[in-house]
Amino acid sequence: MKKMWLIGLNTFRESMRKKTLYIILIFALIVIGASKLFSFLTAEEELKMIKDVSFSAIEFFGALIAIFGALAAISTEIERRTIYTLLTKPIRRSDFVIGKFFGVSLILLVNFVLTSLFFIGLLIFKKSMPDIEIFKTLILIFFELILIGGITLALGTFTTDAFNIICSFFLYIVGHLTSYGKEMVERAENVVVAGLADMLYTLVPNYENFNIRDKIVVGISVSWGYIGYTILYGILYICIALLIALYFFEKREI
């Protein structure tokens, strides 16, 4: 566990040296701050706009950080050949992969806390105390980001960087269109087609599960039961991503 933690911490430190992540973070903060520009609207509408824009910025820029952070985690080690030195030490490959995941999660946590605090500060500035529903939304966004990072990390163990980026973004888009997939499952008359669609619905990471912001901003409250199941979903999928990463990384000749 200590080895994993050390690898994670090292991954985090390494990422903090990169300018790309700072640029994305600054962009996120600018977009969140810019949501204050809707002051020409009524107070209620403005607040809704601020929430809409901020949630979206936290998620989208967080997703960028998750993808680029996780992408660099393993490939940089291979490119710089530091992985050879590392694996000659008494470190299991599983420690390495899980450690990298911890590192990526730490990067995401720091970014997420910063952007969320900025957003909450903005709400307080607008004299709107954030309620529990805001925190529920943020919790789910965070788990979504961790899942995106986990999936990108898994893809990084067996694909090239370019393919990984394309694949991760593709999954990000498709994962948000799953409600249409479900619609197709329900409407399919052919049993085989319905079965295939259902299988695809299970296999593709359902990022839309984590998306409750559209409901929250219009005042719909979400039960803790839903939050719990969605977090469980996220954890299970992260486990799958890590197992895939382990499977391919252990097979990889280094």
Partner: protein
């Protein structure tokens, strides 16, 4: 290593079973908590971003799903901008033109009250269908010609235009009923000899239409009228 690999694969499969069960629960909760994503995609929103991403077909499909949703809810007017959007995204998706024309000339036509409004929607349907023909791919298929011919024939009682478009429809590979409708259109347009000739063609080529074609020819020759 191989054994370990299998272990990972088995664990992944088991976890996916777990995922499936959790997803069922999430879907159930989405339903009871009204958290399901409504299929409300405005052309400028999601579809727009998909177009920018190069997913034109996908965007059209999603809008089409919205149309389905509105259709089932009887919200016929909301379908109109979506029809235009889908047609714009995928002009070669021929069904959107035929369904669109029919939707305006029949469904909305039936919904409006005054004769003036009815005429307006009939014309809009025709206009939409003709717009579909401006795309080369569509102009080389029977579908829109037939829909135009049928709309002129059945809804507009404009038999000369019906003949014009049905004749065009028969120039491309088409189902049997297109020839049948053309024969009726000839008769209604006062072209009895052409109608007889067309029925003879139908009788000689389509077994399923043999009886009706024979009767039509007989009626046209003896009474000069066959279509009720």
């Amino acid at each position: 290593m191989r054994k370990k690999g299998y272990k990972y694969l088995v664990a992944i499969v088991i976890l996916f079973v777990g995922i499936h069960l959790v997803q069922v629960q999430i879907d159930y909760r989405k339903k009871i908590e009204n958290l399901e994503s409504a299929l409300l995609l405005m052309p400028g929103q999601m579809a727009g971003s998909l177009v920018l991403g190069g997913f034109k077909g996908l965007a059209a499909d999603l809008l089409w799903l919205n149309m389905e949703d509105y259709w089932h809810k009887g919200q016929h007017y909301k379908i109109l901008p979506l029809l235009e959007s889908v047609a714009w995204l995928q002009p070669s998706y021929i069904i959107v033109w035929t369904i669109g024309g029919w939707h305006m000339a029949y469904n909305i036509y039936a919904e409006v009250k005054t004769e003036q409004e009815k005429q307006y929607w009939y014309e809009q349907g025709i206009k939409f269908l003709k717009k579909g023909l401006t795309y080369p791919f569509n102009a080389n298929k029977y579908d829109i010609y037939f829909e135009l011919g049928w709309t002129y024939y059945h809804k507009g009682k404009d038999y000369s235009n019906a003949v014009k478009y049905l004749e065009k429809a028969t120039k491309y590979p088409h189902p049997e009923y297109v020839d049948d409708v053309l024969a009726h259109a000839y008769e209604k347009n006062g072209e009895i000899s052409k109608a007889i000739k067309q029925w003879e063609f139908v009788r000689d080529n389509y077994v399923a239409f043999f009886d009706i074609a024979t009767r039509m020819i007989y009626d046209l020759k003896t009474k000069g009228k066959a279509t009720p």
